[in-house]
C-alpha cells in the first residue's frame, strides 16, 4: 500500500524572519516623510526653546528658560517633580513626539491592511513586536540626535553659555538615547493593544510620554531614586550629574521594560484576532 507523505516544507529560522521583517520596517521608516518631519520637529523644538533666551532683555517681559545651553539636553540634577516648563524642557520631550510617531507608524500597518499580508505568512507575533520596537527605538535615537543638534544651534544662536563636564554630559545624552528602546517598546505595546482605536492609541502614547504618572507619583513620594525603575524616572535620572552608573541603570531599565512590553504585546497578539 502506498503511503501518502506530507510535503516537506522548510521552516524559516528566527534570523531569516527577523532579517526580512527588520528590512521591511527600516525600508518603510526611511521611505515615509513622517520620519523626516519628526526629525525636523525634534530639531526645531530645542532650537525654539533656546532662542527664547534671545527675548530676555533687562526690564523685558520674557525670561530666559536657561542660562546653560546644555540644560536643553538635560537638567542639572534628577527632578521628577517639575515646577516650571524650563525644568521640563529637555531631551525627554523626544519621547513624547516619538510616541506620536510610533502610533502613526504602527497605525498604518492596520489601516492599510498590511498586517493581514504579514500575519498570513510565517511571521511570528514576537518578531513583529521586536522589529517594531527596534525600528522605532532607532527612529527615536535619531530624533535624540537631531534634538541635540537643534539644542546646540539654538544655544549658539542665543549666545548661551555651554557649561558641562564632558563625561556626565556624555552619559546623560547616551542615557537618554538608550532609553529610546524602552519607550519604543511601550509605544509599540500600546499601539498593539489599541490597534483598533487609532485616536486613543495616539492620546495614550502622548499622555504616558509626558511622564504624568511619574510626575504625579513624585509629587506624593518626593524625589525618590525608586522612581528610576520606571521609564520616565530613568529618563529624568540621565542628567548633567550622570555617572557611568546612571548610564548602566538607564540601559538596564530600558532593556527590562522592553522585554516586559515585548512579552506582553506578543501574548496579546497571539491570543487575539489580528484583523
Amino acid at each position: 500500500m502506498q503511503t501518502v507523505l506530507a510535503p516537506d516544507f522548510a521552516s524559516p529560522t528566527l534570523r531569516q524572519r527577523m532579517k526580512s521583517m527588520l528590512g521591511v520596517d527600516f525600508y518603510r521608516l526611511f521611505h515615509t516623510p513622517m520620519f523626516y518631519i519628526f526629525l525636523a520637529i525634534a530639531a526645531l523644538i530645542p532650537a525654539m526653546v533656546s532662542s527664547m533666551g534671545m527675548m530676555a532683555e533687562p526690564g523685558g517681559t520674557a525670561a530666559a528658560l536657561f542660562t546653560n545651553a546644555w540644560n536643553i539636553v538635560a537638567a542639572d540634577t534628577p527632578l521628577y517633580v517639575v515646577h516650571d516648563i524650563g525644568e521640563y524642557a529637555n531631551m525627554n520631550m523626544v519621547f513624547i513626539f516619538g510616541g506620536i510617531m510610533v502610533s502613526i507608524f504602527i497605525g498604518h500597518d492596520y489601516r492599510s491592511g498590511y498586517v493581514k499580508q504579514l500575519f498570513t505568512t510565517h511571521s511570528h507575533k514576537s518578531d513583529y513586536m521586536l522589529s517594531k520596537s527596534l525600528v522605532c527605538a532607532f527612529a527615536m535615537a535619531c530624533m535624540c540626535g537631531t534634538y541635540l543638534l537643534g539644542g546646540i544651534a539654538g544655544g549658539l544662536f542665543s549666545g548661551m553659555a555651554f557649561h558641562a563636564r564632558v563625561f556626565p554630559l556624555l552619559f546623560a545624552i547616551l542615557g537618554k538615547v538608550v532609553m529610546s528602546l524602552g519607550w519604543a517598546s511601550l509605544y509599540t505595546f500600546l499601539n498593539v493593544i489599541l490597534r483598533r482605536q487609532f485616536g486613543v492609541s495616539i492620546t495614550s502614547s502622548f499622555v504616558l510620554g509626558t511622564g504624568i504618572p511619574i510626575i504625579g507619583a513624585a509629587a506624593l513620594v518626593g524625589n525618590s531614586p525608586l522612581l528610576n525603575v520606571f521609564l520616565y524616572g530613568s529618563s529624568v535620572n540621565a542628567c548633567l550629574s550622570s555617572t557611568i552608573v546612571t548610564l548602566l541603570t538607564c540601559t538596564l531599565v530600558s532593556v527590562v521594560w522592553a522585554v516586559i512590553y515585548n512579552a506582553l504585546g506578543t501574548l496579546i497578539l497571539a491570543r487575539s484576532d489580528v484583523y
Binding site: V4, L5, A6, P7, F9, A10, S11, P12, Q16, R17, S20, M21, G23, V24, Y27, R28, H31, H108, S112, G113, Y114, V115, K116, Q117, L118, F119, T120, T121, H122, S123, H124, R271, S272, D273, V274, Y275
Partner: protein
C-alpha cells in the same frame, strides 16, 4: 493528502455564532469553490485558515500540519477582501515588501513575472492608491502568487474584475493547479464564473457546511431539462402539466420540463394540442440555480 482538513471549527463574535462546528475537506490540487450567503461564515473560515482569526474550537490541518506551523504558513498565498498595501507606496514597492516578508531570493524577477501573469506590468510604478478596484484585485492576486504558494486562499477575488480580468483569473487558477501543484480555496458570489473552474464545492449556511461535493457530483445532481418558448405560454403550461409532473415557468415565459427526455416528443405533443412552439432546446441546471434551490429548501425546512 488533503490540502485543507477542518474538523469542528467554531468562531463566535459577541452574540453571533459566525462558524458553528464546520467540517471541510479540500483535496490537494483542487479548485474548491466555497459558496454561501452573505454572513454565512465564509470569510471568517478563510481568515481562520490563514491565521488572522483564532478559532474558538476545532482543528485546521494544512497538508497534514497544524495551520499555525511556520513551514506551512510560508506556503500560503492569500487575498482576503482586498490586498493589504500601503496606499502611498508604488505597486512595485508594495510587492517588494511582501516578497521580503516571504524571503523570496530573487524578488525582482518574481515580481515582474507575477505582474505579467495578471497583466499589470504597466502599473508597477503607479502608487497603489491610484489603482482602480479591478487593478487592485489583480495586484492582490499577483501578491498571493508570490513565492509559488502550495495553497491559495482567495476571498471574493473576482469582485471588480472586468470580463478580461475574469478570464485571466480562470486561466491562472487552472494553470497553477494543473502545472503548479497548487490547491485553491476560492469564495465568490459570482457562481457562473466559479462553475467554469471549480473541481470541488462546499456550501456553507449559518456557519455550517451543508453540502460538499465534486464537480462530477454536482453535474449528476443538476438535472437536464427541456426548455421551450410557445405562442401561448400559459396554455402550453397547463397542457404540459397533464402529461409531465415537473413543469416550471420562468419569469420571461420560458417553460421547463424536467421529466421529459426527448424535445421532439414534447413539441409533437403540444402541436397535437394546437400550441405552436417557437423555440426548443435542452439545458442543464446551473450551479446558481442549484444553489438557490438548495438555500430555498433549507429556508423552508427551517
Amino acid at each position: 493528502m488533503n490540502a485543507i482538513e477542518i474538523r469542528g471549527l467554531s468562531k463566535r463574535f459577541g452574540n453571533k455564532q459566525a462558524v458553528d462546528g464546520l467540517n471541510m475537506t479540500v483535496p490537494e490540487g483542487a479548485i474548491y469553490g466555497f459558496i454561501g450567503e452573505n454572513g454565512s461564515g465564509k470569510s471568517t473560515t478563510e481568515k481562520m485558515i490563514c491565521g488572522l482569526l483564532h478559532p474558538a474550537s476545532g482543528s485546521i490541518q494544512l497538508y497534514g500540519k497544524d495551520h499555525t506551523d511556520d513551514a506551512i504558513r510560508s506556503q500560503i498565498g492569500v487575498l482576503i477582501e482586498a490586498p493589504g498595501c500601503f496606499p502611498n507606496v508604488s505597486v512595485w514597492n508594495n510587492m517588494l515588501l511582501q516578497a521580503a516578508n516571504l524571503e523570496i531570493k530573487h524578488p525582482e524577477e518574481e515580481i515582474a513575472k507575477v505582474l505579467k501573469t495578471v497583466r499589470m506590468e504597466g502599473a508597477a510604478s503607479n502608487k497603489f492608491k491610484h489603482c482602480s478596484l479591478g487593478m487592485k484585485q489583480r495586484i492582490g492576486i499577483a501578491m498571493a502568487l508570490l513565492g509559488h504558494p502550495r495553497l491559495l486562499v482567495l476571498d471574493e477575488p473576482i469582485n471588480g474584475l472586468d470580463a478580461d480580468g475574469m478570464r485571466i483569473m480562470r486561466e491562472i487558477l487552472t494553470d497553477i493547479t494543473q502545472k503548479g501543484n497548487c490547491t485553491v480555496l476560492i469564495s465568490s458570489h459570482i457562481l457562473g464564473e466559479l462553475e467554469k473552474i471549480a473541481t470541488h464545492y462546499g456550501i456553507i449556511r449559518h456557519g455550517q457546511m451543508i453540502r460538499e461535493m465534486t464537480a462530477q457530483e454536482l453535474e449528476a445532481d443538476c438535472p437536464t431539462y427541456i426548455a421551450l418558448r410557445a405562442g401561448d405560454g400559459t396554455g402550453a403550461k397547463s397542457y404540459l402539466e397533464e402529461r409531465y409532473h415537473r413543469v416550471a415557468q420562468e419569469e420571461n415565459g420560458t417553460l421547463r420540463i424536467y421529466d421529459a427526455t426527448r424535445p421532439e416528443e414534447v413539441v409533437s405533443f403540444l402541436y397535437e394540442k394546437g400550441v405552436t412552439v417557437s423555440e426548443v432546446w435542452t439545458a442543464k441546471i446551473s450551479l446558481e440555480e442549484y444553489y438557490i434551490d438548495l438555500m430555498e429548501s433549507r429556508r423552508a425546512q427551517a
